[in-house]
């Protein structure tokens, strides 16, 4: 069972390719081919052999039979309208713990909610949430601890948690205050409340949420259906003050509801109603804090003001939702309405900022601004004008370097004016400085020159790795010497990334596991740099690149939960940088790769918005072509953009468009290969483009083009084989190309 745990996404892709190839062969040919493969990769050969055996045993292409013929069932029952029928009651338990069940209040993805009667110590109606067993079922100890923490929340605006327990069969339940009310949005609509009344309800809501935040509890799932409004019945005739009650505070985390939800989401790209209230970081499954609640409050405020959601995400896939949230302003509708433009637009915009760091610091601050608006006082949050911030950002930078220069000048002049003793001290200091710089220059020499020069030398992986290890030891030592020098941290992060690159591309077999700790540390160092020196645009960019690399390694490890989140973090940073400095080639180039990676990732997840992301990428590549036509990396980006478009069209069966893009990709890849015939990356790109073109051309190309494509593919594979003779993929490529060339009609 040695191989069981170690199969990676890369292995599987390869398995698919080889299987296709084998399936076309006669059985004696299969056997000899399998024998060849076995020499290179015994595990692969073994599993392929079993797959072929199973297929021949169970007859040609044994069909998978569905366990439930759901599609058929719905076809039949379309007319009967089962949704309207009350679900049968056998599922209603008579009692949950000591609580007598009266009726069912709701159904949820991880559990159901019942109205129940409590007899002791007080007689009152309660709401009981009974959880199903699920694979995310929290262990009972943690559950008890968290339930106790939640029950300590005591605020008139929060439905109180009374009790928690476990059924005999192990299903946990929670007992909560029963709230007889209606969702806040429905109350506003049905009673046609005016804007001031709505804003006052919103402020009450904020008070409740702020209270919980101060107690360290985040709601995580704020939405109108969790915010009920009740009326004080005693005072009904005098239109008693409506009371906001937030239900399910902190429950989402306790029950694992969101974890389950996110898994469903990422696997399905389905968007449910609640998605509209999720901050981008929640959409991506990252860790959240109070600022996720602030985002949701921003969405709710928008809804109370306009009766509509800021973004229409209904029925969108995860990829599409991300595109909308990344590209569209949440306050478009407010800006279009004269009565909402200005303060309220600014408040919603700040609450819903994509980047949590730019949102309100606290719910209290948000509520205060709404209250100020009601009192006709100026609000505190500034309009998030990109240009204002941007200009300031650049100006401050320029100023900073001018100031540094001035101080340096003063220091230098100062040296000549001091007495001997001080001069000696300074000289000693200078000597230390000189040595330090010399050592760093040496390490920089290793990093940039030796290691990269060796890249071209076949089989140099091991030497490069030991050089890198030595270099890392040094850069780490420099940090101990000068923990506050950004350039030392910068060098170290660079070395970490270089080491990860080396493990992933410079050696064979690739070592993705080995690369992981390096990219994790690199991100940590880069985050520190970007945080401590926020005015340095290059540190922002390098942070984005570190996220990208961490995402890449997670992808190669088959760890797909965090991949999109990291790519999206990089995208956000690069979008901002491109806005700040539209003339920078590097920012634009990086932005291209972000779109490209997200598209490729979503495609693998079967999300059909991949095409749209690749179209965005192509747009950026064309912008690169317009501004920087002669740069070789523009050529690289263009070949990448076109090959992905070609593959997108190919999977959709649009052969003409696929071929068109494939030809363009080939054009650029050939050019790249001419300029840099020895770069590993460009050689690999050339091979990849040639292979895709070869496949696409089989569908719709002329014989001449087929031959041309195959020849290119063979050459590209041979070149790869030469620098990585141990990698069986290239050897097999050559063999494949040879066979295809021998029988061109296959």
């Amino acid at each position: 069972m040695a191989g069981r745990a170690s199969i990676t996404a890369e292995d599987y892709e390869r398995l698919c390719d080889v299987f296709d190839e084998l399936a076309e062969l006669s059985s004696p040919d299969q056997r000899s081919r399998l024998a060849e493969i076995e020499k290179e990769d015994a595990q692969l050969a073994a599993i392929l052999q079993r797959m072929l055996a199973i297929e021949s045993e169970s007859g040609a292409r044994s069909e998978m039979r569905p366990i439930v013929d759901l599609a058929g069932a719905f076809h039949e029952s379309d007319e009967t309208d089962e949704a309207e029928n009350e679900p049968d009651s056998p599922l209603l338990p008579s009692a949950i713990g000591p609580y007598q069940v009266l009726s069912q209040l709701g159904w949820g993805s991880v559990g159901d909610v019942y109205l129940a009667h409590q007899a002791q110590p007080v007689e009152r109606p309660v709401a009981v949430k009974l959880l199903r067993h699920s694979r995310t079922q929290p262990d009972s100890k943690r559950y008890a601890v968290e339930a106790r923490a939640l029950s300590s929340l005591s605020h008139p605006g929060i439905a109180q948690i009374f009790d928690a327990g476990t059924m005999r069969d192990g299903r946990p339940y929670l007992v909560m205050e029963y709230v007889d009310g209606k969702p806040i949005d429905a109350v506003c609509r049905e009673n046609d409340l005016d804007r001031e009344a709505r804003l006052r309800l919103f402020i009450d809501l904020c008070d409740a949420v702020h209270y919980a935040h101060q107690q360290g509890v985040i709601h995580r799932d704020l939405k109108p259906s969790n915010i009920l409004v009740t009326h004080d019945h005693h005072d009904h005739e005098h239109h008693g003050k409506p009371q906001v009650k937030v239900i399910d505070f902190g429950i989402a985390r306790l029950t694992g509801e969101l974890a389950d939800f996110h898994q469903t989401m990422t696997m399905h790209g389905e968007l449910l109603g609640t998605l509209a209230y999720m901050s981008p970081e929640q959409l991506l499954g990252s860790r959240v804090d109070t600022r996720a609640d602030i985002y949701a409050l921003g969405v709710i405020l928008h809804q109370l003001l306009t009766n509509r959601l800021p973004h229409d995400l209904a029925g969108k896939s995860l990829g599409e939702a991300l595109r909308i949230v990344s590209n569209e302003s949440p306050t478009r509708q407010l800006a279009a309405d004269r009565s909402l433009r200005g303060d309220l637009e600014t408040i919603v915009g700040a609450a819903m900022h994509r980047d949590p760091r730019h949102r309100y610091d606290s719910v209290h601050a948000l509520a205060e601004d709404v209250a100020r608006h009601l009192r006709f006082e100026p609000i505190t949050i500034r309009r998030p004008g990109h240009w204002y911030v941007a200009r300031k950002f650049l100006r401050r930078n320029r100023l900073l370097s001018a100031v540094t220069a001035a101080i340096l000048l003063l220091l230098v002049v100062g040296v000549y004016m001091t007495d001997d003793a001080r001069r000696d001290a300074l000289a000693a200091h200078q000597e230390a400085e000189r040595q330090h710089l010399e050592a760093r220059r040496m390490s920089g020499f290793f990093l940039h020159d030796v290691v990269t020069r060796l890249e071209r030398l076949p089989g140099s992986g091991e030497i490069r790795q030991s050089l890198m290890a030595e270099l890392l030891r040094q850069t780490r030592g420099f940090i101990d010497e000068r923990p506050n020098d950004p350039s030392v941290l910068d060098d170290h992060a660079r070395a970490l990334i270089a080491q990860a690159n080396l493990l992933q591309t410079g050696t064979f077999p690739r070592d993705h596991h080995g690369a992981w700790p390096y990219v994790v540390e690199a991100v940590a160092v880069r985050e520190q740099l970007a945080e401590r020196w926020p005015d340095h645009p290059d540190y922002q960019m390098e942070l984005a690149l570190a996220y990208t690399r961490r995402g890449d390694v997670a992808r190669d490890l088959g760890n797909h939960g965090s991949v999109l989140a990291d790519y999206h973090r990089a995208l956000q940073i690069h979008q901002r940088l491109v806005e700040l400095a539209p003339d920078s080639r590097r920012y634009l180039d990086n932005l291209f790769w972000d779109y490209n990676r997200i598209g490729a990732r979503l495609h693998l997840q079967g999300d059909s918005s991949a095409l749209a992301w690749h179209q965005d990428a192509l747009k950026v590549a064309r912008e690169l072509e317009r501004r920087f036509p002669d740069h070789y990396l523009t050529t690289y980006a263009l070949s990448q953009a076109h090959i992905h478009m070609a593959e997108q069209y190919e999977t959709r069966g649009r052969d003409e468009s696929a071929l068109e893009h494939a030809r363009l990709a080939v054009l650029h890849a050939d050019r790249l290969n001419e300029i840099y015939p020895h770069s590993w990356h460009f050689m690999r790109q050339h091979r990849r483009v040639a292979l895709a073109h070869t496949k696409i051309v089989q569908q719709s190309g002329s014989d001449a083009e087929k031959l041309e494509a195959l020849t290119r593919f063979r050459k590209a594979a041979e070149a790869m084989h030469q620098i990585e003779p141990g990698n069986s993929v290239w050897a097999r490529d050559m063999e494949r190309a040879r066979q295809w060339l021998a029988e061109p009609d296959r």
Partner: protein
């Protein structure tokens, strides 16, 4: 074993869907505002829900057999009359989870085909790819999972130790 779950055509028996549909509605009705722009979208979502229903049930069932707790009668008792057993489903689940890691697209195809009964064409339309792509991945993934199962049962191991 999972292979049995995938094949299960020995008796040519497919479960009666009505009961499952009821449970599905129970779960869907609780979510409030859900929008499914097309039947394909709905079926894809339902496939996943059914998968969790069946797997949860199988887990509970096995736990009860060991612990001897109170019986909760639900529709899935029908499973016992079919030829798929709970351990089959759970093993299939393990394999699907692996596939989700290394090739999520294939895992979704299997899920929609096996748990939702969607046709290759429906799946292809839903995912925006050709049915050729769907067929290829379904075939390879299915054989892959079965091959791995066989591998496991050929070698000495402790079947009860997993999960």
């Amino acid at each position: 074993m999972a292979a049995a779950a995938l094949r299960h055509q020995k008796s040519g028996h497919t479960l009666q869907p009505t009961a499952i549909v009821n449970e599905l509605w129970l779960r869907l009705a609780g979510g409030g505002e859900r929008h499914f722009p097309s039947r394909g979208d709905f079926l894809a979502f339902a496939s996943h829900t059914i998968r969790t229903i069946l797997v949860d049930h199988a887990r509970r069932k096995l736990a009860e057999k060991r612990g001897g707790g109170a019986r909760r009668t639900t529709f899935i008792d029908a499973l016992e009359q079919g030829c798929i057993t709970e351990p089959d489903l759970l093993e299939l689940e393990d394999e699907l989870q692996l596939l989700e890691k290394i090739h999520p697209m294939s895992a979704r195809i299997i899920e929609m085909r096996f748990y939702g009964g969607m046709t290759e064409l429906q799946i292809a339309q839903r995912m925006g790819v050709t049915d050729r792509t769907v067929r290829r991945h379904a075939r390879i993934a299915q054989l892959f999972m079965r091959a791995r199962q066989r591998d496991e049962h050929d070698e000495p191991g402790e079947p009860g130790e997993r999960e």
